[in-house]
């Protein structure tokens, strides 16, 4: 897909299974919304094909596709009330009045908006508008429902509720959901399959657990959760060397002495008394996070993020142990060296990334 001469999507090759909850996850500008718009029929790809039940639908306009969309800011029709909005697609399809009535009532029950039929759109709360938008799309009984960051405009509490709601609706209706988000937590908790995208390319496709536990490259490792990423060398199967020390690991199949990225999740690291550790470092900062402390430890100039429930004060010398299953080895990629160093870590780190990843295109 090219847009204004710039390549936006490159080599996207995706399969969607029936009744699947699939999420396109990536930072802003990664091409996930563009992918969605191509599927929805609002953009025509400059090359490549979109297949639907084996049929090429490149030339099928949006209004003829059996696909419906929940738009980023809902795009509800302000001149119609709740009922009018939901019944819109059915009226266009020229269904009988009785059937429209019945189907609207059914879907209102599904989204929990019974009794709101004649409310004006702008008298609804954000969450209610969200439900109307979902009902409006679902009432047409599409084979695929596209959701473009549908929860981005809601506050945290409401977002959590709606996540559960969406998952429930998807399971109840048995429809394929294609969900676009930049929120990795949302993606992991709701999806059957997660597609991580960056720079118009698919970085990794897999189940949420696989994506988390076995990221393919530094980008995925960093984008999904927090990761300490270190340079290492794979000496042999199950043997990796980093920080001048050989560790046992569970990965194999690398060329001998291949340089690799080593991922260690902050929550997998256990503190031990300084003398007993594989590595010894100094605590440089401690942040209380509620469930745990985020502790930054300096190991010979390389700062690690460690999440632990044990408190260690600043300036304390600590040791850590790494078990073989805590170490994940990745091939080197274009992202190597860009992520996984917490030298510039600050408490606002999380919020910052979320703010940046707000708008697409």
């Amino acid at each position: 897909m090219e847009f204004d001469g710039e390549r936006i999507l490159d080599g996207i090759n995706l399969y969607f299974n029936d009744h699947e909850f699939l999420t396109l996850l990536g930072p802003s500008g990664c091409g996930k919304t563009t992918t969605l718009r191509i599927i929805g029929g609002f953009l025509t790809p400059t090359s490549g094909r979109v297949l639907f039940d084996g049929q090429c639908i490149n030339d099928v306009p949006a209004y003829k596709r059996q696909i419906n969309t929940v738009f980023q800011r809902y795009a509800l029709f302000p001149h119609l009330d709740v009922y009018g909005n939901i019944a819109f697609g059915l009226k266009v399809a020229k269904l009988s009045k009785e059937e429209i009535q019945e189907r609207v009532q059914d879907i209102l029950a599904v989204v929990g908006l019974k009794g709101y039929e004649h409310r004006r759109i702008d008298s609804l709360s954000g969450g209610q508008q969200q439900r109307v938008a979902i009902a409006r799309a679902l009432v047409n009984r599409p084979k695929v429902l596209l959701l473009d960051e549908p929860l981005a405009a809601l506050d945290l509490r409401l977002r959590k509720d709606m996540q559960n709601e969406l998952k429930r609706i998807q399971q109840a209706m048995g429809i394929t959901f294609i969900y676009v988000t930049h929120d990795q937590e949302e993606a992991l908790s709701m999806s059957d399959t997660v597609v991580v995208m960056d720079k118009g390319r698919i970085q990794q496709i897999g189940k949420p657990e696989d994506i988390y536990n076995e990221p393919k490259n530094a980008f995925v490792a960093d984008f999904i959760g927090e990761s300490n990423i270190l340079d290492g060398v794979m000496l042999a199967d199950y043997k990796v060397k980093f920080f001048g020390r050989v560790f046992e690991c569970v990965d194999k199949g690398f060329a001998p002495n291949e340089p690799v990225d080593v991922v260690i999740r902050p929550e997998d690291i256990d503190f031990v008394p300084a003398g007993e550790g594989h590595l010894v470092g100094t605590v440089t900062s401690v942040t209380f996070k509620g469930l745990n402390y985020d502790i930054i430890v300096d190991f010979r100039g390389f700062k690690w993020l460690i999440q632990t429930t044990d408190y260690h004060g600043e300036g304390e010398t600590v040791g850590i142990r790494l078990n073989p299953e805590d170490i994940h080895i990745m091939h080197k990629s274009e992202y190597s060296g860009m992520f996984g160093d917490y030298s510039s870590y600050s408490a606002e780190y999380d919020e910052l990334t979320e703010d940046v990843a707000d708008e697409e295109e």
């Binding site: 929805g40 029929g41 609002f42 306009p61 949006a62 209004y63 003829k64 696909i67 419906n68 969309t69 738009f71 980023q72 800011r73 795009a75 509800l76 029709f77 302000p78 001149h79 009330d81 819109f88 697609g89 266009v92 399809a93 004649h118 409310r119 004006r120 702008d122 008298s123 409006r136 799309a137 047409n140």
Partner: protein, 673 residues
């Protein structure tokens, strides 16, 4: 600060609404004088609703504005959507292109449209009458379009583009999504555009004037031609009703808007305002269709001969003020003839209309020198006097005139003199000795002067003892110098504004046509008329002619004959206050007028009058230029041939100012964005 704000607000409202208030008060006034409220009456409204002509013109105006608004709103909305979907750079270009016609002076738009219509109609389609209802409609649609586009565009910009995607997503074709979603979103813009277009169209004069033929006139065109007499009070009544209609319409619309906005927050059911609005729209459309159908039926009624008459404004008795309705009487006598009566405001504008082509006119009533010119340029048909037996009533004095020596082309209609009207309260009788009264420094600032070159030069030439028909450049220069001397004393150069100025005693001395002076004297008893018989004065004759473009010469001659009947002519003069050239007409006139020395001077005096003759165009042009210089510089005009006159300088500065405004204004706007 708050106080000054409030005072300013009140002042602004006063400025905005005071004129309307005066108009409304005037519409209930029994007196004709605007400045004095005599007593309350509804008579003006009664007159209005009995005046079929005026109501017909109002109908025409409404028909044109409603039709053109409806069509322009439709096209404009689609155009706006099209422009909105262009790429940004292209969109900007197209927008400025659509805005240019709006900033274009109306007169330029009017003339260029007129040229185009005449070219297409006459040259390409070989139509007899290329300017008609349809050209007027097209012109109105043309100038309405930008207003609609300008109002709709911002609404399109405000609209969430995802709404269209959403509609398509739910199964709408692009066309359906426009009608089901976009249209609702941009409706406020469409409505305000339509209202703007409607008001623009309703009061347009300049463009309409150039693009309509004699067959279809609108209210503004007619009103602007009321130059010879003050406005009739029934016109105030009509404007009052129009103003109130628009006022009520706007208030209702605002109320509906407020109500629908309140509904947005409250939990209410269906959108009633929308339904009401739809009903109002439907009502408007129905009215437009009704008018349109009526007009079409009316205009295609072919069993009657339509006689197109063009006359000076208010130059025929029309049944008002207990006078006779001459046209109605004529139509009653000849039921197969339908008179279509239109007006012009000067000989020159009549000439321009005829020379421009594209019109069908059967009967015109120009003045002597213009008749000479029309004969000279072969624009008149010789009359068939077998159809005009009443020609025998025409007094010998008005036969074999200088302008039509063979009595072949014209039959006189009225005649009159140009003299001085003055206020006896302020002007010393001893000073009233001749035309020099207009140069008397004692009355500096209280003197009015003709605002047309021929009459202004004529007076000066009588004073200086030069022929009023001179073509000698030196003599014309001499007259111009004399006029320049007068300039510092002149309060204002006027035509019909003379009525107010003299009646309200703002000015004391002015030269004017005797018939009009008679009417002013009627309104203010201090006014007196004086004819400088020793120095000489202009004796003018307006006569009836049939132009070359006529299609119904025989019927025109029937009307000429009818107007020559002494009884009819007399009754006619009662209204227009001029003298009749018809023998015996005086006997049928109101005694007061018939005996008036102002209207009918004694024959011995009349012999000293001189008529204007046709002058070559270059002389007319020279006279116009000299007069313009007199009016602008007021200085010695003899030097002006070497020195650049002030006009180009003023125009240059004005042009630079406008250019600067154009350069700076858009910048500010973009900054704000």
């Amino acid at each position: 600060m708050k106080k000054t704000n409030r005072i300013l607000t009140i002042l602004i409202f006063a400025f905005l609404y005071l004129p309307m208030l005066v108009l409304i008060v005037a519409s209930f006034n029994t007196g004709k004088n605007l400045t004095v409220f005599e007593s309350f009456t509804l008579g003006n409204y009664k007159d209005l609703f009995q005046d079929k002509d005026l109501l017909g013109l109002l109908g025409n105006s409404l028909l044109i504005s409603i039709l053109s608004t409806a069509i322009a709103t439709g096209f404009g909305t689609f155009a706006a959507v099209g422009i909105h979907n262009l790429k940004p750079r292209m969109r900007k270009t197209v927008m400025s292109l659509t805005n240019i016609p709006m900033t274009n002076p109306d007169i330029v738009t009017g003339i260029s449209l007129s040229l185009l219509f005449v070219f297409i109609g006459t040259t390409l389609l070989h139509q007899k009458e290329s300017l008609n209802f349809w050209t007027l409609l097209i012109a109105h649609i043309t100038f309405n379009l930008p207003y609609v586009i300008l109002n709709v565009m911002p609404k399109l910009k405000q609209m969430d583009p995802a709404l269209q995607d959403a509609a398509m997503d739910l199964g709408c074709t692009p066309a359906q999504s426009f009608f089901k979603v976009t249209l609702h979103e941009i409706m406020p813009g469409i409505i305000s555009g339509a209202i703007m277009a409607f008001t623009m169209s309703l009061d347009d004069f300049v463009i309409s004037y150039f693009v309509t033929g004699s067959g279809f006139l609108t209210l503004p065109i007619e009103i602007y031609s009321y130059t010879k007499k003050p406005m009739q009070p029934r016109v105030y009544a009509m404007f009052t009703l129009l103003f109130l209609l628009i006022f009520v319409l706007m208030v209702v619309m605002n109320l509906l808007q407020i109500r629908s906005e309140r509904k947005k927050t409250a939990k209410q059911e269906t959108t009633k305002s929308g339904r009401i609005f739809r009903r109002v729209c439907a009502g408007f459309c129905a009215v437009a269709i009704f008018f349109g159908a009526g007009w079409l039926i009316f205009s295609t009624r072919q069993d009657k001969v339509t006689l197109n008459v063009m006359n000076w404004g208010q130059n025929i008795a029309d049944g008002s003020d207990e006078t006779m309705d001459i046209i109605a009487a004529f139509e009653e006598k000849y039921p197969h003839i339908d008179v279509n009566y239109t007006t012009y405001e000067s000989n020159e504008s009549l000439y321009a209309k005829l020379a421009g082509g594209g019109v069908t006119v059967d009967l015109i009533i120009p003045s002597d020198y213009m008749i000479a010119r029309l004969i000279d340029e072969d624009m008149l048909n010789p009359l068939n006097f077998d159809n005009i037996p009443n020609y025998k009533y025409v007094q010998e004095r008005f036969k074999n005139t200088a302008y039509d020596p063979d009595n072949a082309y014209s039959v006189p209609y009225t005649w009159g003199t140009v003299g001085i009207i003055y206020n006896t309260k302020f002007v010393d009788e001893a000073d009233v000795t001749g035309w020099e009264l207009l140069w008397n420094e004692k009355y500096a600032g209280k003197i009015l002067m003709f605002d047309n070159s021929r009459d202004a030069f004529g007076i000066t030439q009588f004073l200086e003892g030069i022929s009023i028909n001179t073509t000698d450049t030196k003599e014309l220069q001499q007259a111009a110098n004399k006029l320049a001397q007068q300039n510092p004393l002149v309060r204002q150069y006027v035509m019909d504004q003379i009525y107010g100025a003299m009646e309200d005693e703002n000015a004391w001395i002015a030269p004017y046509y005797a018939g009009d002076c008679m009417m002013m004297m009627d309104a203010n008893e201090n006014l007196q008329f004086y004819l400088p018989e020793e120095q000489g004065f202009n004796l003018f004759i307006d006569a009836m002619c049939v132009p070359k473009c006529s299609e119904n010469q025989k019927e025109a001659e029937l009307l000429i004959n009818f107007l020559c009947e002494p009884e009819i002519s007399g009754a006619n003069m009662d209204y227009i206050c001029y003298a009749s050239p018809i023998e015996g007409a005086r006997d049928h006139m109101d005694e007061y007028l018939a005996e008036s020395q102002v209207i009918y001077p004694e024959d011995s005096i009349l012999e000293k009058g001189t008529s204007y003759l046709f002058l070559p165009p270059e002389v007319n042009r020279l006279m116009d230029n000299l007069f313009m210089e007199v009016r602008i510089s007021g200085g010695d005009t003899s030097e002006s041939e070497e020195e650049p006159s002030a006009l180009p300088v003023i125009l240059t500065f004005a042009g630079l100012g406008i250019a600067a405004a154009f350069l700076f204004l858009p910048k500010k706007k973009t900054k704000r964005n």
